[in-house]
Assembly symmetry: D2
Homo-oligomer: 374 residues x 4
Amino acid sequence: MRTSDQKEGLSVPKTMKAWVLDGPEELRLVEKPVPEPGPAEVLVRIDAVAICGTDVEILTKGLPAWVKGGLPFHKNFTPGHEYMGTVVKLGPGVDEYEIGDRIAVEIHAGCGRCERCRMGMYTSCLNYGLNYGEQNKGHRANGFTTDGGFAEYAVNHINTLVHVPDGMSDEEATLIVTAGTAMYGLDVLGGLIAGESLVVTGPGPIGLMSVAVGKALGAQPVILTGTRDSRLNLGTRLGADHVINVKNEDPVEAVKRITKGRGVHYVMECSGAPNALNEAMDMVNRGGRICLAAFPGEAVPVDLAKLVRNNIYVFGIRGEGRSATHRAAALMAQKRFDAKLIHTHTFPLEELPTAFKYFRERIGDAIKVVVKVH
Amino acid sequence: MRTSDQKEGLSVPKTMKAWVLDGPEELRLVEKPVPEPGPAEVLVRIDAVAICGTDVEILTKGLPAWVKGGLPFHKNFTPGHEYMGTVVKLGPGVDEYEIGDRIAVEIHAGCGRCERCRMGMYTSCLNYGLNYGEQNKGHRANGFTTDGGFAEYAVNHINTLVHVPDGMSDEEATLIVTAGTAMYGLDVLGGLIAGESLVVTGPGPIGLMSVAVGKALGAQPVILTGTRDSRLNLGTRLGADHVINVKNEDPVEAVKRITKGRGVHYVMECSGAPNALNEAMDMVNRGGRICLAAFPGEAVPVDLAKLVRNNIYVFGIRGEGRSATHRAAALMAQKRFDAKLIHTHTFPLEELPTAFKYFRERIGDAIKVVVKVH
Amino acid sequence: MRTSDQKEGLSVPKTMKAWVLDGPEELRLVEKPVPEPGPAEVLVRIDAVAICGTDVEILTKGLPAWVKGGLPFHKNFTPGHEYMGTVVKLGPGVDEYEIGDRIAVEIHAGCGRCERCRMGMYTSCLNYGLNYGEQNKGHRANGFTTDGGFAEYAVNHINTLVHVPDGMSDEEATLIVTAGTAMYGLDVLGGLIAGESLVVTGPGPIGLMSVAVGKALGAQPVILTGTRDSRLNLGTRLGADHVINVKNEDPVEAVKRITKGRGVHYVMECSGAPNALNEAMDMVNRGGRICLAAFPGEAVPVDLAKLVRNNIYVFGIRGEGRSATHRAAALMAQKRFDAKLIHTHTFPLEELPTAFKYFRERIGDAIKVVVKVH
Amino acid sequence: MRTSDQKEGLSVPKTMKAWVLDGPEELRLVEKPVPEPGPAEVLVRIDAVAICGTDVEILTKGLPAWVKGGLPFHKNFTPGHEYMGTVVKLGPGVDEYEIGDRIAVEIHAGCGRCERCRMGMYTSCLNYGLNYGEQNKGHRANGFTTDGGFAEYAVNHINTLVHVPDGMSDEEATLIVTAGTAMYGLDVLGGLIAGESLVVTGPGPIGLMSVAVGKALGAQPVILTGTRDSRLNLGTRLGADHVINVKNEDPVEAVKRITKGRGVHYVMECSGAPNALNEAMDMVNRGGRICLAAFPGEAVPVDLAKLVRNNIYVFGIRGEGRSATHRAAALMAQKRFDAKLIHTHTFPLEELPTAFKYFRERIGDAIKVVVKVH
């Protein structure tokens, strides 16, 4: 861990080590130029970066843009979006951050000029991916459409930065963005969840952080469903009042049992299971709300009649909008929950493939695998 | 048409003619007691009542409660919920309405004592259907769980009433509740739709009223999709800027064409077609919102990934909450659109089965079939 | 403290001791009939009741209704609204609570039939005060327009009840309603205050609870202003990050100093000081929001230009709407803050005048003075 | 009037005529360089520009920035913010507009990088005025902190542009921004105003446009107060259901009379009269909302107790945020009201001082005085 006053030694080299993805499963460590921050941007020395399920998607299937063919092909692309580091260079006009500041990141910097961005909906930027050539509108989704964090340095728009609280380790700070996604999901569900009942389905990192953030904001009860007791136990330690192993008990029945038949107000769906939305609709009561932070790989049968008959709202979220990362970082600075619990493994940058292997194969019950860069 | 000062002759008999539904397709005309209004209730002399698609659902499948078995069996049940009439008797303590007032109705009177009702979400009342015996919580969904309008008289909670504007015919006034559903859908989509783009899928009564209300509030463009040119032409007369016959053109392609590739902000889904939600997700741009006012009869494949990747929100609505009927009635009083265009046939109360036949078989291109009672 | 399973011995007498207010400063202990709960109501055996600043207003100036002359004169009126107790009798149709349940209360039960109540704004009920005679619309503001808690028993609408968490003392439970007001204020300010900056002006009970609830929800920093160090110290114990004694430092300057010139997002004004709104407008940054939970006794000069130039919103709140008391009780059940810190004195029911004296003259630095009834 | 396909002859000179304000009342016509559009900006050939009350404020008192001393002194400053014109040059990367497009403007382009802008609150930009030298954050308030429209050309960020509907005259198009302010005010009041009651106080341009937009959105009744019958008559033509000349009748009494004692839901305060807020608080019913679009020149006595006791919210607005100008332009394109009614006089650019004289002295009952530039 570094403190923000250790600002010496922040000289920036001309080139850096970076992993690039040439195509599906073609990850390669290269030496490439350290990028230069533009207006409203900073250069970040990556100190640590975590692996997310979406990174595996990108690794195995290519970038969303590749898949869609919508973007110009971008050889030399560096993935990785759950990173934190140290500001080492300021773009023109930046005084919001100082050299030496420790920061964590969120993914999206909207273009600031489409109608969604103007209204504050920057994760719905209509110029998504347009950061190249004549179509450059300034949108950034670091690790998705612009270079990310599996490297020694990365450029970030200042809108994607939050200060890392003093005393927080690099590894824990990589989880701020994960907690930010959870916070964003709870925001779109209404935000006022103290005393309201919440089911989180799927104890992956976002699910576990949803438990933690939901409890920190006072949700009651918080119920977590999953298939592995080790994960569910972690959920308990992060604030779940009840855990349900769906191998042992039907989750809808269990929720009804726990809530004495009333159902819950909110479901955060973080499993991507094919029947998850149908189950969520059976878990909430009339007027309930469901946030989808995960999704099945293909179209699944959904009983839409339930949505209509019971006035249910379903919110798809991508990333962590509405400055939710800022709010999540504040809760972590106040030590409202121990995000470190979901950090299980650490590898150096050179061993990124091994890190991915651990993550993908859940070796040693891996949850958050962190790559330590500096 | 009657004016509100024709208050003479409002004496109320002891018994009345009423259609009752003994079971699926078992509609029977009986003589039954005129009900008595309780506190906060009035007795309405039904002047006209329209047939809604949901009435056919009830007629053919039984009440939702019968299907679910959740309610005590209720022989002698009178369906019909799109009615208007004249206040002929006031329950204790009622001074919000006067005898002789012409009123239209919305369906739901919440219990006023569950947590949804307390927050104003009375269409999500958690005591839905509880209006009988020891479980009587005072919830009413007239024509669904409490006696409705295919009769000479009905009791209504004052919360379900709106004044019928002077000069509006009885037949047109039965459409206030339909316009109210459309207004409610636009409300949950955000409400601020002047200059925003709106697709309405399905030119049934709610779809056509969604076109009319959307245009009255300034939506631009308003695009209507459907399969029959006669209905689409009506849509044009009610305010649609573009109509798409999906037999001739792929609706997603057409929406992209009309919006120059941008997609729309909002979709009101009023068709219940199996693929409607998937198409709607392809019609809206990132951050777009979809309201489901109709639904397929069974579970259908839905590509949930699109909801998540594009930050799309989906709102199921039941009925017409948030006092939307009041706002819709105001637009109709101001003659912002000509709801009468969708009224096609009129029958007397005695001929309800014929009216149903016309509606179900779309005889004479029936849209709104009205039963004139007084 | 009693636990909820001590349900024996809940027999209800015919008459009870109750304080009544005949006119300003005319408080008198009488024997009067125990009231009978109606539909959707329960009879509460008062266990404890706290004194609020508004009780002093009522004691010295008469009821708002007396002042306005709007209500029929109501001799035998019993004030007191911050109470808790035990359900001892259920009105017809009530199964939401059981005899023996320990409950705390909020003040307002809306009529459920005006346009504000229908939309969930029950503290803005348009039938405020109408609970008598021919104009009875069912509105209750216990201790304001209907009999309150300085008595052995009181009737409450079930909408005004929250369960008292197991293990919470009677004295602490009287503070749930105070925390509910604070929660409501934070709700109307936007609710999503984790990591946002908050100034609370005035360390009375509502101000102190605003500090506690704001901190529990993650506000950062929380700044409290006041004139007495003892109160400010309590604020620190309840979660304030900074306290400002306005006798020593200009509060606007201090807020600017603490926030490095940026100002804060939110101000909860709980002092009623004549210049408080002007100062609050100088404390918030552009787009900031101010909640007024207190007010000066007469019109004061306000520089409205600041509201307009800086896009500031000002929210007056009365009581504790939007089910905020429920959310506040949940935070207290989860022991997010120690509300007991503001409870300073306890007296038996017979000594209510002495309790008032302690509260009004701040004898022994009295904050919350509780009257223990059973 | 020009149509958008008259794109010939859009060559841009090196210098242009422009009025500059050296200090209070020191307006001078100069020749100065035509500015160059940067990224996300366009150069606009001013076709017409209207005079606003705020222009008079600036003319007589200097810029807000001069008054505050907060900005670097800016000699050569060109005021004027209610303009429209033709895009004649595109900054780098702009393809949202084409050369030859006719556009109207709103005032504020937020910095896009402060926390308010990120959330879509660009009229509350925390970098207000920072468009110069080292502190350049890119904020623009054209005619306030950056050069405006009393000139032949001006630079605009694309976020401040809306297309002028085909067939609309230049003069009418200058009123789009005024209607945008009215729309914004109605938005912050809640937006769903069909059938709700609205008082507009003060029949200046914003007040009259508030009547027109409110009526276009279905408000009912719309009541306008003022002191001059000629203005009130215009209000009637723009959609007011009732007008109140406050010289003849107390406006609070009149509102009570018209609403049968109920009061109204919303007040748009556009007069800046010293007692206007107090009167507005007496006009709205409990839970009512008030938007302040104008303000008195100095602090005025306000009875804050009413805000608190009646749950009233007060919203100060500056300019026209939330893309309201876009929505207002849509209503005008749909000819929902005749904004031209408030345009009374036209002068050429050279006669700006005369135009100001007419506006200030209300010569010929001047309302909107337009300067025609090209």
